[in-house]
Symmetry: C2
Subunit: 336 residues, 2 copies
DNA sequence: GAGGGCTGTCGAAGCGCTTCGACAATCTCT
DNA sequence: AGAGATTGTCGAAGCGCTTCGACAGCCCTC
């Protein structure tokens, strides 16, 4: 392993000079800089991460805590994770992947050991048990998702409340009066995942304001579950003509079942999805949808975190405005 | 931040003793051990990762390189990544998430800086450009996937060749004579991803042995692409009664299209999928399938790597035997 | 009961880097 | 021309840990 000292010797300067060339924290003559850079290249030098972390108490690593469960939105999670990793690299950081398995202890361990300089938490619950730990730690953190109490925290998320409202408005404008919401799996609501509840808030609030009927039903993914859920909905509210779906794995089953029952989309019923772009365009009917901007969420989270690590910027809640894209699955409500 | 020295003082022993309590590398009297452990707990001590890495030249981190692209098998990737992370933690390692973005340089950087003790590479191509670097590095590595030349490498993968053979056999046994293979996106073959080609090998080899017709067509996911592909296949080989699908995002479109054309599954045509269990059971027809054992692959990869890090075990190719699960999508070929 | 082997503990060296203060050399004013 | 500021470089200290050799005390054994 090549060390700083060897580079220094090779370039005929002192170790500290090499260090300053690397960090740019003191000015170095062009001549010296070039000599050093040349030595670095020729020797194939890579600074030792451990030594660097020890001396500077900065690891240049950020921890990303992903949920262990895979009961929802896996592609979204993956996309976020990848966006986090690439953005982090662009800022000179590496990413440590933590699963929820360890639970809150992971926060303690990572903060305590100086393994990471900061962390990004995904899949935040309204009253997340990791938050107290996060608050008492001095390590900066950014949440992807919104807990109930955001005091002292930096959060990044799609504005799910506005998303809900937007979906309702879209259907209302087209004359739909009875709307059904196919939600996430019941478990998602039971653990009070912020985004699901906030979407519901937005949906309900807007529906009330506009005087629409709104029926919300959680739904596991898959055909069987969707069949049961749909039957119940149509039984309870036969006049339903608008659907809002917030569950990737219910989208296709819903479309298939509607087709099977002879309900044409969008002639008889309209469907609006809250899902990644890709799902919307690959579905059997191209879906009018509000996209979940996974990449942007990941990127923003890292940028917020890096800002905090650099001592810039404080606690902030960054909500991304939803955008509804009109596709083939929604249209005017049928005449009654 | 609490340090080793503070723990030592609190417990009334020397720093080295605390270190030995932690590592277990020398025997310590029960009495002393307990005092030290108590101090550690009371002070909330966490060893500093950087210092540890520097002194021991072991970071207790393994790097996981995931592909940047998301043109295939995202849920599988995610599942593997999570399995890697959890298994690694069980062995005392953390996981560093690298994307393919950096390319081969990432290997150099991680190995050179001592950031990670070893690495796991996913999405291996037959002639992967990271392999030469890997071979010249002294850091142990494990591949998930199989390159063309496995000399000096440890690899873990599903036996895709056997998987292909198994699918053909299954259909042959049920009397199907003409089989079509819906493959991954063309790009996957273009970059010579090992698993796709090996599956094809297995399919073709077995089909030849059994005297069956086999038509392979790469296919982008989604309805439109699938529609085009299917039309071409049926045009070229109208007698096709068996389908093998190796592309998650083509599964549902295929089923929908067949239904739409009045071809019943499994009465008129049989479908066998190579996909994660979840996709197979959630599809609109429960699919006879060979599961991709993502969790096991992740777990095995970590275990192989840890073994190498411990100086146990050498280079090995671990192939997981495929298992075909019979579900509702395959049956006897219709009488001609 | 002297010699040899264990056990349990300690002190010190050092891992490879960052960073602070010092200082010589050079430049910029009046 | 001399004081003062600026620039570029160096040496040394120290980050918190692991690990090696040393050694005191103990238990056996012949």
């Amino acid at each position: 392993m090549v060390t700083l000292a060897e580079v220094a010797q090779h370039a005929g300067v002192s170790a500290s000079t090499v260090s300053y060339v690397l960090s740019g924290k003191r000015s170095i003559s062009v001549n010296t800089r070039q000599r050093v850079e040349r030595s670095i290249r020729e020797l194939g030098y890579h600074p030792n991460a451990g030594a660097r972390a020890l001396a500077s108490s900065r690891s240049n690593i950020i921890a990303l805590m992903v949920p262990l469960r895979t009961d929802m939105y896996v592609p979204v999670m993956m996309e976020i994770a990848i966006a986090v990793a690439t953005t982090a690299r662009a800022h000179g950081y590496d990413v440590l992947l933590l699963t929820g398995e360890e639970g809150p202890d992971a926060v303690r361990r990572v903060a305590g050991s100086g393994l990471a300089d900061g962390m990004i938490l995904m899949d935040v619950e309204l009253d997340d048990e990791r938050l107290p730990l996060l608050r008492e730690t001095d390590r900066p953190a950014v949440l992807i998702g919104l807990p109930a109490d955001t005091a002292g925290l930096t959060c990044v998320d799609l504005d799910f409340k506005a998303t809900g409202a937007l979906c309702v408005e879209h259907l209302a404008q087209r004359g739909h009066r009875d709307i059904a919401v196919i939600g996430e799996a019941p478990a998602v609501y039971e653990r009070h995942t912020g985004f699901a509840e906030r979407t519901l808030d937005g949906l309900r609030g807007r529906a009330r304001e506009l005087g629409l009927g709104l029926l919300h039903r959680p739904c596991e993914g898959g055909y069987d579950a969707m069949a049961v859920t749909l039957a119940r909905i149509l039984d309870e509210r036969p006049g339903t003509t608008g659907f809002v779906v917030q569950n990737e794995s219910a989208v296709e089953p819903l479309l298939a079942l509607l087709r099977q029952q002879g309900r044409a989309v969008p002639e008889d019923v309209s469907v609006v999805a809250i899902c990644p772009e890709q799902v919307a365009v690959q579905a059997s009917v191209r879906l009018t949808s509000v996209a979940i901007p996974a990449q942007e969420m990941g990127r923003l989270a890292v940028e917020q975190l890096v800002a905090k690590l650099d001592g810039r910027g404080g606690d902030e809640v960054v909500l991304i405005a939803p955008e509804l894209t009109l596709r083939a699955s929604s249209g005017p409500a049928p005449a009654r």
